[in-house]
């Protein structure tokens, strides 16, 4: 057993619950602490620059509000579980909100009047100013306003908890829709702009930084209403398999249509998602099927990219001058060979040892590529530039959208191959190795051959992604091939659901797509990314789209 295998025990560790008052204070304290952390880490200020609803509420305010709403909600739920009436429960929510508000206000007063800045750089007058609504920044009035607002928000959260389940969902969906619209303003604005006939709507719905107030009301109410209507329409029950199929079709439609009708940026992001899908499918063969951890996966991506560069660039280092269409299979093949070579020495290494060995190999490749010693062949830190774009009969691919469709086609192809391999004797052998190497071998499976095949196929997929990547960017630099990419691909697999092909797509959408959309929060992007990883795993431990719905939902 190791990190990359299972870890399990049959019993859970339960938290002992306290009295409702204690639980409310606890919930409030959590909300308050979250808000304080959010402020002191500096995220408040950067998110305060973005409006959700134009000129009315900023993203930062929304986040803090959500913390407190959540605290009130949790307090009320826990009170209701102990049998409190709705009114009392709301009282507990208010208590939680009060605690949160007090904590937050206290922290702000501390920031305003005690110099914390030598250690906490974000504890700035600007922060105090930003959270002040009434009164002088840092004054008692300002603090009182915060406390009042906290109490109110806690009560509202609690009140929401007292709603009937369907209404609660409706409220939640309404808010989520609004938040989504505000957060991804640029995407939706682009969408409106491009959809025929809707272009005129754009300035009505979106201001410069967020949703206009009127549109906000329409969106929130509309989404909530829709949710209620859908909930109450009698639907014929859908079999799980049909449902999955429908979801699958929807996913494909989404993948094809959305980039078409939005702007270049969405296409660009979609393109990156596509490349990660290719890579993740490769790693899925290694890790998801054969259980071989590979933290040096980025090396194959690099091999593909550099092969493309050396085959299609006008750089003097370029060995040959091929067209993209010839270079692509060449890059794939060379990456596959690299996979084979990688696999050979580490065949007998297992589990975490394998993780480290591959990580080491990946780093070796990266350093080689950046090194002065290899500069005459690989360009060193200046990389290789001016890689020709693919062209087909005089028509050159150059927009992100075109590349996206290229990636999509390749991903579909690779997905098909993956699926076929998975459901064949080879795939079964891989699974068996993952489960118990010794037994698999005793059943006649040649471990060496099977593992090498997994490495080779996985590497080929990654190399293909790398080749497309190089052609898209038009240049390759060693700094694009960091360890972080390997880790990212691993996270995609697990978040999506290990061993699941649709999971790979969903995982890439979430882990590549969303952070791209959050690019504007620059320095906090990885903070949010980290939080997203944690939260996703807590909500969907098996991944967002697990391989097969195994029957043992509650079981060890």
């Amino acid at each position: 057993m190791s990190s990359f295998d299972i870890v399990t025990s049959s019993f859970r560790i339960h938290r002992r619950r306290g009295h409702a008052v204690a639980e409310a204070v606890r919930a409030g304290a959590f909300a308050g602490a979250a808000a304080i952390a959010f402020a002191l880490v500096g995220a408040y200020l950067i998110m305060d620059r973005r409006f959700v609803v134009e000129d009315i509420i900023t993203l930062a305010q929304t986040v803090v509000l959500l913390f407190v709403l959540g605290g009130g909600h949790a307090a009320a739920r826990s009170a209701a579980r102990d049998g409190a009436t709705a009114a009392t429960a709301i009282g507990f929510g208010a208590l939680a909100g009060l605690v949160a508000g007090l904590l937050f206000a206290a922290a702000i007063l501390l920031v305003a009047h005690v110099g914390l800045r030598s250690h906490l750089v974000a504890a700035s007058p600007m922060l105090v100013r930003a959270v002040t609504f009434l009164g002088a920044p840092g004054s008692a009035v300002a603090a009182a306003v915060l406390v009042t607002a906290g109490t109110a928000a806690g009560s509202v959260g609690a009140a929401a908890a007292m709603l009937r389940a369907d209404r609660r969902t409706a409220v939640l969906i309404g808010l989520a829709a609004l938040l989504g619209a505000g957060l991804f303003r640029d995407v939706f604005a682009g969408l409106l702009h491009n959809l025929p006939g809707l272009a005129a709507l754009e300035p009505m719905v979106f201001g410069v930084g967020g949703v206009t107030p009127v549109a906000a009301a329409v969106i929130a109410v509309g989404a909530a209403g829709l949710s209620l209507v859908l909930h109450h329409r009698r639907r014929p029950p859908i079999a799980a398999s049909t449902r999955r199929r429908i979801e699958g079709v929807l996913l494909v439609v989404l993948l094809v249509l959305v980039p078409l009708v939005t702007d270049a940026f969405v296409a660009q992001v979609a393109m990156l998602v596509g490349l990660y899908v290719l890579m993740a499918m490769g790693l899925n063969i290694e890790l998801g099927l054969a259980g071989l951890v590979d933290l040096g996966f980025v090396a194959f991506f690099a091999v593909g990219a550099y092969t493309m560069a050396l085959a299609c660039s006008s750089d003097p280092r370029a060995a040959v001058h091929l067209s993209f269409w010839l270079a692509l299979p060449l890059a794939t093949t060379i990456a596959a060979v690299a996979g084979l070579l990688f696999g050979l020495p580490v065949l007998r290494v297992r589990g975490d040892y394998l993780a480290m060995a591959t990580l080491g190999l990946g780093e070796i490749v990266r350093v080689l590529v950046v090194s002065d010693a290899m500069k005459p062949y690989l360009g060193g830190s200046q990389g290789i530039i001016e890689i020709a774009r693919p062209s087909l009969g005089g028509w050159t691919l150059d927009t992100p959208l075109q590349f996206y469709f290229l990636a999509l086609i390749l991903a579909a192809l690779v997905g098909l191959v993956s699926w076929r391999l998975q459901h064949s004797r080879i795939g079964r052998a891989w699974l068996a190795i993952r489960e118990d190497e010794d037994v698999a071998q005793a059943l006649g499976i040649d471990l060496v051959a099977a593992k090498l095949l997994a490495y080779t196929v996985g590497a080929a997929f990654a190399g293909m992604a790398g080749a497309v990547f190089a052609a898209l960017i038009g240049s390759v630099y060693p700094h694009s091939f960091q360890l972080a990419i390997s880790i990212n691909v691993l996270a995609i697999l697990v978040i999506g659901g290990l061993g699941s092909l649709p999971g790979v797509v969903v995982g890439s959408l979430v882990l590549i797509g969303l952070p791209e959309l959050l690019r504007e929060f620059g320095e906090f992007r990885y903070l949010f990314y980290g939080i997203a990883l944690v939260v996703t795993m807590h909500l969907k431990t098996e991944g967002l789209w697990p391989a097969v719905a195994r029957q043992e939902a509650t079981d060890a």
């Binding site: 750089v121 040892y353 060995a357 070796i364 944690v534």
Partner: protein, 362 residues
């Protein structure tokens, strides 16, 4: 030498039992040996470095090796019990290092640091340990405990997530500038042993690593908690069945591992004198490498792994690459480290002191 026919027979026997993979592995081994020989020989011929230089390299390597070892100890502790790499460990170390810094700043502000440097050091280290342990507990609470009963890689991904969170939260909270670590007068001294200048700090690092290892070994081998830890490591359900509170044992392990990271963080800062919020990532990887090299789950292995890795990095470019006349050989420092790691794993897939991963019991 055995008679000819016996040798032939042995060869035939080898051929009967081996496959092409054995051949390839043999070739790799020979290739490695040849490379090392050529590089080493070439380096000797090149004669860039004096014996004194090499001796200094050994001292450098041992110092950084001690730090790797301390990080590796934390990994190995947690791994031993959960069979899980704590990916956030490097960042726990970073936060611990900041804890020590703030304590030192406070002490310095109160004038204690200058007045009683000998007394202040334990206080600073303790601060690092407490902060490290605290953060490690947070990591356990968020990334491990909720997943004790499920079968998935979720803890691993959560730990990676926590690593990002710690790094970038620290950046947001403390800023991204490099921070100077205060020196403790007596530690800045050096002394001579056989013509070799040895800084006091190096000795401190060495002693610290040794003491920590001894302490951990004592805990694991001799105490009730230690025995419970080993039991939980082997079979969590069975441990619960003999009355061990599994949750508590895991918490204790994380706390110890975190404290270890705190020590490593402070020690790192004392040796290298400046810290940033990003130091955790690369040191974390090195610590992981050291733990694997020594055989993960094995405490003495962590020390050995750390020292060997440190030595390889310090000596490798000088002793191996010089012979190949490569430009900028120190760019390959990490390559040497990782290559050595991979080589060791080829020869000993279980690490230097590790036990065979799977004794094939049927």
């Amino acid at each position: 030498m055995a008679p000819r026919h016996e040798r032939l027979e042995a060869l035939a026997e080898w051929r009967r039992q081996s496959t092409w993979v054995d051949g390839v592995l043999l070739a790799i081994r020979l290739g490695v040996a040849a490379t090392i020989l050529v590089g080493f020989g070439g380096s000797l011929v090149a004669g860039t470095y004096s014996i004194g230089n090499i001796a200094s390299f050994v001292v450098f390597g041992l110092t950084i090796g001690c730090i790797y070892a301390l990080v590796a100890l934390g990994y190995t502790m947690v791994y031993g019990i959960l069979r899980m790499i704590n990916f956030a460990h490097g960042d726990v170390m970073m936060v611990g290092s900041f804890g020590g810094l703030f304590a030192a700043d406070a002490l310095s502000g109160a004038g204690v640091l200058e007045a009683a440097p000998l007394l202040s050091l334990p206080l600073v280290v303790a601060a690092g340990m407490v902060v490290g342990a605290g953060v490690a507990l947070g990591v356990e609470r968020i990334a491990y405990r909720p997943f004790l009963h499920v079968r998935s890689l979720a803890p691993l991904i959560c730990a990676i997530g926590m690593s990002f969170v710690l790094q970038y939260a620290a950046r947001g909270l403390f800023g991204s500038r490099n921070r100077a670590y205060p020196g403790f007068g007596w530690m800045e001294r050096t002394f001579e042993v056989g013509g070799l200048t040895i800084p006091m700090l190096q000795v401190v690092a060495f002693v610290a690593a040794g003491v920590m290892l001894a302490g951990l070994l004592a805990v694991v081998r001799l105490t009730r908690l230690g025995r419970a830890m080993r039991a939980v490591a082997e079979d969590r359900d069975a441990a619960a069945l003999v009355g061990i509170d599994v949750g508590r044992v895991i918490v204790a392990t994380f706390a110890i591992g975190g404290a270890m990271a705190g020590v490593a963080g402070v020690l790192y800062a004392l040796v290298f004198k400046q810290i940033t919020v990003f130091l955790g990532f690369s040191l974390g990887i090195k610590g992981f490498a050291a733990a694997i090299l020594g055989g993960i789950g094995n405490l003495p292995g962590a020390l050995v792994g750390g020292l060997v890795l440190g030595l390889a990095e310090a000596l490798g470019p000088a002793l191996l690459l010089e012979g190949f006349a490569l430009p900028a050989p120190y760019q390959f420092k990490d390559v040497i480290g990782y290559a050595m790691l991979v080589m060791v794993l080829i020869f000993r897939p279980q690490g230097l002191l590790g036990e065979r991963l799977a004794d094939k019991r049927a």
